[in-house]
């Protein structure tokens, strides 16, 4: 383990200069989730056209891993067929579980997050944006990985 496995240039760049970080007025799909343990919050907005993710943006706050992952995600799935976006989400999750060896051309910048696997407690941060994306693509309402239940 070394810090530059996790705090790679490209991650810090996405954190400091997040791509597609804005609301998307009129988005058909919108979904929010948070990880209260660390205070990470992500909302994903998506505009779907012809079975593909025409445009996708996010809003949020949190640690460098959660925010850079969201930023990279928006780049990775823009213009991608919904089925393929789902597939990428699955494979991203697989990479974070240590099961999937990422293909450079499919993953792009996302490959940089591979180092997070060595920091199990940070995996939740990396996966949060993808959880929200999947919920959004499922057309479901408000998402939360933890299935909260009210007292």
């Amino acid at each position: 383990m070394a810090l530059d496995d996790i705090y790679k240039e490209v991650i810090l760049d996405h954190y400091k200069n997040p791509r597609n970080k804005r609301e998307l007025p009129g988005a058909e799909l919108q979904c929010h989730a948070n990880n209260p343990l660390c205070g990470d919050e992500i909302t994903v907005f998506a505009h779907v056209d012809g079975g593909a993710v025409a445009e996708v943006t996010f809003q949020g706050a949190g640690c460098s891993i959660s925010q850079s992952s969201a930023s990279m995600m928006t780049e990775a799935v823009t213009g991608v067929k919904i089925g393929d976006a789902r597939g990428l989400a699955e494979r991203f999750r697989g990479m974070m579980a240590g099961d999937v060896e990422p293909a450079e051309d499919e993953f792009g910048d996302l490959v940089a997050l591979k180092g997070v696997v060595q920091y199990p407690i940070r995996i939740k941060c990396a996966v949060l944006a993808w959880d929200v994306l999947q919920e959004a693509l499922d057309g479901a309402g408000s998402a939360s990985g933890a299935q909260p239940h009210t007292v």
């Binding site: 948070n34 209260p36 920091y119 199990p120 407690i121 940070r122 939360s144 933890a146 299935q147 909260p148 239940h149 009210t150 007292v151």
Partner: protein, 421 residues
């Protein structure tokens, strides 16, 4: 983390276990009482622990201790992995489909209370019935009395036959569509009886009830496959299966666990806390409030590794053989045995009354001969009353016991007779 020096079969080993090798793993078994070697026949109360378990717990604490699921630092990661690794080990041992079906508790008493409160208080109302048996341990009676008092549900009992079996002849009238849950021991600690879990599960499911099992005695002494038994909930306790005190848990089918409310509120079981309400995590985490018995569940995993190394079928065969021998010798000596006399349908907890020596006197006298047995009602007062005795003497066996120890027990009975004749 824990080294495994488990014992291998040797030629004349009872039930496939090399008991001599096993005994060397348990330092307490070398103790003496006065000039007598200790003969420990009280494993149904709590088992002894092998070095492998004691060392695993100490090694975790000495070198990897941290709170689980909290720290980003190295020790935090190590502790979380050890704790969740223990969950996976327990799940495998019980034949559970996945680690998330295992809730850790501090023992089966907490587990059965979690069932009675977490499931019972949300699912039961007046007119509903809870069906248990007259051979239950108090930990599977009192929680249901409390839940019945709060919900207005009615508690009913499957009676016992004179032989110490469940009397299922009246099951048709006891188990009806009013019954919402059947909660039953897998093996009685007072009578030794093994209950027909799969049959009871099918009967319960046929009327739309679920079935919960108190496996405090079954899990240490018999192979278990919760999926083959098709039980909905099953509690177990680590300290009776070579593990540390304060270890144990509750298996539950995912949907049943999700339908339950937590019994304890606190840290780590919540998702978000607001001034006027909170949201919870999903199972099993919503049931694990606060800092858990972390080192103890790690010790339990080492105990399971040890038992797996012996093979649970061998454990069962060994105990069946010893129990058969003990029943024969005790009956020969003139003892009255409560519970089944056929070792193939019972576990190794043998309750008896020897002539007219009160069990308390008997236990004191046997202790002076080095023989440790239990005397009392064994937290099963209903079963005691059923058989008209205030208490019994109980000898119980585990992987480290030998036929020689049964002989020591029977030999020591003579002393009692001499004193009281």
């Amino acid at each position: 983390m824990n080294e495994r020096t488990v014992s291998v079969k040797t030629a004349g080993a009872v039930g496939g276990l090399d008991v001599g090798a096993i005994r060397r793993d348990f330092p307490i078994l070398s103790r003496t009482v006065g000039e007598h070697p200790l003969v420990f026949l009280d494993s149904a109360a709590t088992s002894q622990k092998p070095n492998q378990v004691i060392d695993a717990e100490a090694e975790f604490t000495r070198h990897h201790n941290a709170n689980a699921h909290r720290g980003i630092h190295m020790l935090g990661e190590e502790a979380t992995q050890a704790y969740e690794g223990a969950r996976a080990t327990v799940a495998r041992f019980l034949g559970a489909p996945e680690p998330e079906t295992i809730v850790f508790t501090r023992g089966v008493t907490e587990s059965m209370n979690l069932v009675a409160q977490g499931w019972g208080r949300t699912h039961l109302r007046e007119g509903d019935e809870i069906l248990i048996t007259e051979m239950e341990h108090h930990s599977n009676i009192v929680p249901w009395q409390m839940t019945a008092a709060v919900t207005g549900a009615t508690l009913r009992y499957i009676p016992l036959t004179d032989d110490g079996l469940l009397d299922l002849s009246q099951l048709g009238s006891l188990l009806t569509e009013r019954t919402k849950i059947v909660s039953v021991t897998g093996m009685s600690n007072a009578l030794g009886t093994i209950t027909p879990l799969r049959q009871l599960a099918d009967s319960a499911h046929a009327v739309g009830a679920i079935i919960a099992v108190d496996a405090a005695q079954l899990a240490p002494h018999s192979p278990i496959d919760v999926q083959a038994l098709d039980v909905d909930l099953l509690g177990f306790t680590g300290h009776k299966m070579l593990g540390p005190t304060a270890s144990g848990g509750l298996y539950g089918k995912s949907d049943v666990l999700e339908s339950m409310e937590p019994m304890l509120g606190g840290g780590e079981m919540i998702h978000e806390v607001f001034h006027d309400h909170s949201t919870y995590k999903s199972a099993p985490f919503k049931f694990e409030a606060g800092t858990m018995p972390i080192a103890q569940q790690v010790g339990l995993a080492a105990a399971i590794d040890y038992l797996d190394g012996l093979g649970m079928a061998n454990v069962r065969a060994h105990e069946e053989e010893i129990t058969r021998y003990a029943l024969d010798r005790l009956l020969d000596a003139g003892a009255t045995v409560y519970g089944p006399k056929d070792a193939s349908i019972r576990g190794g907890a043998v309750s008896f009354w020897f002539k007219d020596v009160h069990p308390h006197d008997l236990a004191t006298i046997l202790n002076e001969q080095g023989v440790a047995i239990r005397a009392g009602h064994h937290c099963a007062q209903l079963a005691m009353r059923r058989y008209g005795v205030p208490a019994t003497a109980r000898a119980s066996f585990y992987v480290y016991n030998t036929k020689d120890e049964v002989d020591a027990l029977v030999g020591a009975l003579d002393h009692a007779q001499a004193i009281f004749s």
